[in-house]
Amino acid sequence: MIERYNVPFSAAESLESLNPFVRKWFVGKYKEPTPPQRYSFRLIKEKRNLLITAPTGSGKTFSAFMAILSDLMNMAIENKLEEKIYCIYISPLRALNNDIYRNLSVPLEEIYKEISIPVTKITAGIRTGDTPQKERQRHLAHPPNILVTTPESMAILLNSPRFAENMKELRYVIVDEIHELANNKRGVHLSLSLERLSEQIGHDFVRVGLGATLHPIEEAARFLSGYKDEHTERDCYIVDATWDKKMDYMVMSPVRDMINASDALVENSIYKTIDSIIKENTTTLVFTNTRSGTERIVYNLMKRYKYGEEHIAAHHGSLSRDVRLGVEEMLKKGKLRCAVSSTSLELGIDIGSIDNVVQIGSPKSVSRAIQRIGRSGHSFNDVAKGEMVVVNRDDLVECSVMLDAARKRRLDSFTTPKNALDVLSQHIVGMSQVKKWGVYEAYATIRKSYPYHNLEFSDFLSLLEYLSGMYVGLESRRVYAKIWYDEKEKAFGRRGKLTRLIYFLNLGTIPDAVAIDVITLENKWIGSIEEEFLSKLEPGDIFVLAGKPFRFEFSKVMKAYVSPAIGQIPTIPPWYSEQLPLSYELALEIGKFRELFSGALQKDGVGRGIFAKKRKLDKKSEAAKVLDAMPMDGNAKLAMQGYFAEQMLYAGVVPNEKLILIEKTYDGEQERNLIIFHSLYGRRVNDALSRIAAITIGEKYDADVAVNVTDNGFVIATGEELELSKKEISSVIEALNAADIVLLLKRNIRKTEMMKRRFRYCAARSFMILRNYKGRKISVRKQQINSEFLLKAAEEISPNFPIIKETYREIFDDVMDLPRAKEVIKGLAKKEISYKIIETDVPSPFSHMLVTFGSSDIIMMADRRKHLRELHRLVMKKLGVKVK
């Protein structure tokens, strides 16, 4: 049973449950247990599975470790502590692992200092991809009592027979940063590892999950604890201490008027705002949403306000480990005035005390906003302080509603990917290496993992068939098969000598975004960029990395060569592929706010006059009543009023969650007709909606269509020849409900670029295309088989080939939010959601961001036979040749 535990134990009760030596140390150090610890000490001692969510700085890690150290100490004193692994701590972050290891070694040392009698030492060890061979060997000979590791290393350890032997007495598994795992394939991978672990050692263990705010928290608890057997969930208690930390936050607009201010003015004001916040505080942490954004801010602050490298530094995943550790160290020592980070400092790495958190641009989810702001404040009892500096109009609306939702404790939800077949492929290969499995036995083990509880047996079998090479002729299976599988005997197991190595060298789910090393002409390593970014660079382009500008010279096999370009202005704009999607819940909140606020403006009698009052909102106005209740500064309120007023005056309509505005307009620059849908449901829903609409149009008019998707809506671009009338658009919308959406999408997703790209990723995760084989890293160039050909080849085997099936699943469930897109379409049919079509000469204010940003894809709908002709026509036109 999953159950919330709402009444904490008293401090005394909690402390009493600890071993006397551990207690003495704890009290000497911290005096009192923190709120989460007042649940955890007792509950872990009672051997309960437990999920704790609490902000950073709440002693979360110790809330798990103290009870465990106490148990181990009791064993040590009774002389029962052996050289065995009793506790495994797993964190998705390698950096965090080093931290934890250090934070564990120090207390252990201090506790033992106080013990006068000879007692066996409790040991801790760390095992990640970075652990040297010598250390690994030592772990085998002398296993540490507490092992600190990552999900990937955990999966490797499962296939080491000696390690398995050392884990036989395992009692506890701690999964940290569970909010970074429960919503993705990496977490799914770990979930299977835990079930394999339990099966291998022949007993269950106490599972402790730690994380920041997440919703629905019960789902996270299920993810952590899984199933005892086919029907029964394992019990798990939930302790939610998210709201125990006080927070103070505010949306700040850099200018009073977001519409008429020039880009340069907005930009200048943003940097000015950040600068003044840094100057008012001792240590400021700035979050951006992208790595490139991080680079840009460091670069600009240094240039504009004369900060040196000793004052301000960037911290993100593309930087080398040494650079990152250096920044963390400087923060801890209180030497830096400001650190700028994308996501890397969001998680619980110890970075000392931060006065203030500044978020530039929307972090796209309430949970993330809370998590980031929560990094400030010296202790758990201090108030966390944060400012959100908005960068454009939609950002202003989004951030204001987000912080308002945070105050009302409304969180956005996550989902766990279910039945991911590519991740399961990896584990089946891993399992087959350990022993010979009965098919039903293996199926039952897999189904104990929450994400696979509803796995179809037929899907499981199709993976066994794929992995045993049944998709090629008998004579080739020697090379293709990764497992042995006997259909008649209903059993599978090891096959081939190379498979063990394939598993070790290729496991993991982190997307294959290929990192390109950036190196100076003198061969000095600067950092890395994504391959996709490299493809946009041309020799001579200036871009910013590690806070400094560089000129791109040339690229050669996975390396980009650059030279420093001190004082030069970057020529390459940031790239948007890294943008996170806005959550559905928050999107709805924004829709409701739009309705509320436009209603208020309506009552105020919005007119041109509204722009004359420049300094302040009219206190008695309805608009002020709405905005004064929200955490916004004066500029933000004025900017908000201006933005809405403009839209109302220009278009006469402010779209909201119950009213979709459809704008028919023309893009003169690119010579194409646009249909803009203001459907504010978040990018995942819009991704599905936009494709359904595009497909309907494409099929009806036998034309190729491009879509551009954002959180606030989507744009459908048809070529210059195809212009739909209002009536035709209307009938497209009516047609949406009649269609079998899943069938429609499935048949047509196939024709998109996304499908090809995702299929390649799934193929890599399913060990069909290896990154590393026979101990050799395989160059990306060699892997670069045209994705379209690859996909077609797989379809030749069967349209239900498991990797193809997984690709569709990933697109429907993880990339898009199909269920909610269906709800919207149903809402339209039932007239619960209405739509209005207008025609504009130039796009209305609310659609500017929609047209300019977002992720695009193309849906090739026109008959393939006509495709060559169309390209031919295009080429001839560009070359100025007339074709009859």
């Binding site: 090629v472 190729d704 060559l868 390209l871 031919h872 080429v875």
Partner: protein, 251 residues
């Protein structure tokens, strides 16, 4: 589509038909490709051979040829014999001779493809190293210059020609193509596209250096003056001179 008096491009196929010889010509099959790829960790479904059979079936049905000429790189690896290649190669020759009832199979091979020689007796096909002169037609693979000066019409493969085109939405596509033109000494020449399923092709109008790939482009042949014929689903269309196609915007 007629390329020249006696030479026909079969619509939508990477195959030529030469009337006086009653011969189908194709190039760069790279049989055994998947097997070799599997050796380096990409376990591709097997489709190349199946696809080649399908293409030749269509071509043979249309033209009822007496002869098939493979203008080089019928298999993938350069020197060593790979089991997958051997199997697919035998199956391919068997299919052409028995199923398609094409009497004569002529292979142009590289200098090192030794195992092919050993098979010519049992399987029954002809082998020529680097080039073969049949009537007025000179078939050579292209990695070396032809040794003979004879032949009025030359056919080569090797470079996998394709045209890079940006479609309506700014996305790049590659279209496999034939290149047709005249050598500096005015003789006709055609470059065949690759028949291998997985070969995307080399964008001859997108800054790829052909001179490095095939010496004929160094002095004897100006690629810019050649005409590209791009292959679609069911038809093949003339896209014009490579030199002009190089002017298409690429960013």
């Amino acid at each position: 589509m007629l390329l020249s008096k006696d030479v026909e491009i079969l619509d939508g196929l990477p195959v030529l038909f030469i009337r006086p010889l009653s011969a189908l010509v194709c190039s760069d099959l790279h049989l055994g490709y998947e097997g070799v790829m599997a050796d380096s960790g990409s376990f591709l479904p097997k489709i190349n051979l199946k696809n080649a059979k399908l293409i030749l079936s269509k071509a043979a049905k249309e033209t009822l040829p007496e002869c098939l000429i493979v203008d080089g790189d019928i298999k993938n690896e350069f020197s060593k014999v790979h089991a997958e290649e051997f199997n697919e190669f035998s199956e391919f020759v068997g299919f052409v001779k028995e199923d398609l009832r094409i009497k004569r199979v002529i292979l142009i091979k590289g200098n090192h493809d030794n195992f092919i020689d050993r098979l010519k007796e049992p399987l029954g096909f002809e082998v020529h190293t680097q080039e073969a002169l049949l009537g007025d037609f000179l078939f050579f693979h292209g990695e070396e210059l032809p040794r003979t000066k004879e032949g009025k019409f030359l056919a080569m493969g090797h470079v996998h020609p394709a045209i890079s085109v940006y479609n309506n939405f700014g996305m790049r596509e590659k279209l496999r193509c034939f290149l047709y033109g005249r050598l500096k000494d005015k003789r006709e020449i055609v470059v065949l596209p690759a028949m291998n399923y997985f070969a995307e092709g080399v964008g001859v109008n997108a800054g790829e250096n052909l001179e490095e790939m095939a010496p004929i482009f160094k002095k004897m042949l100006d690629v810019d003056k050649m005409e590209a014929f791009c292959i679609g689903e069911d038809e093949t269309l003339k896209f014009g001179k490579v030199g002009d196609l190089k002017k298409l915007p690429f960013k």
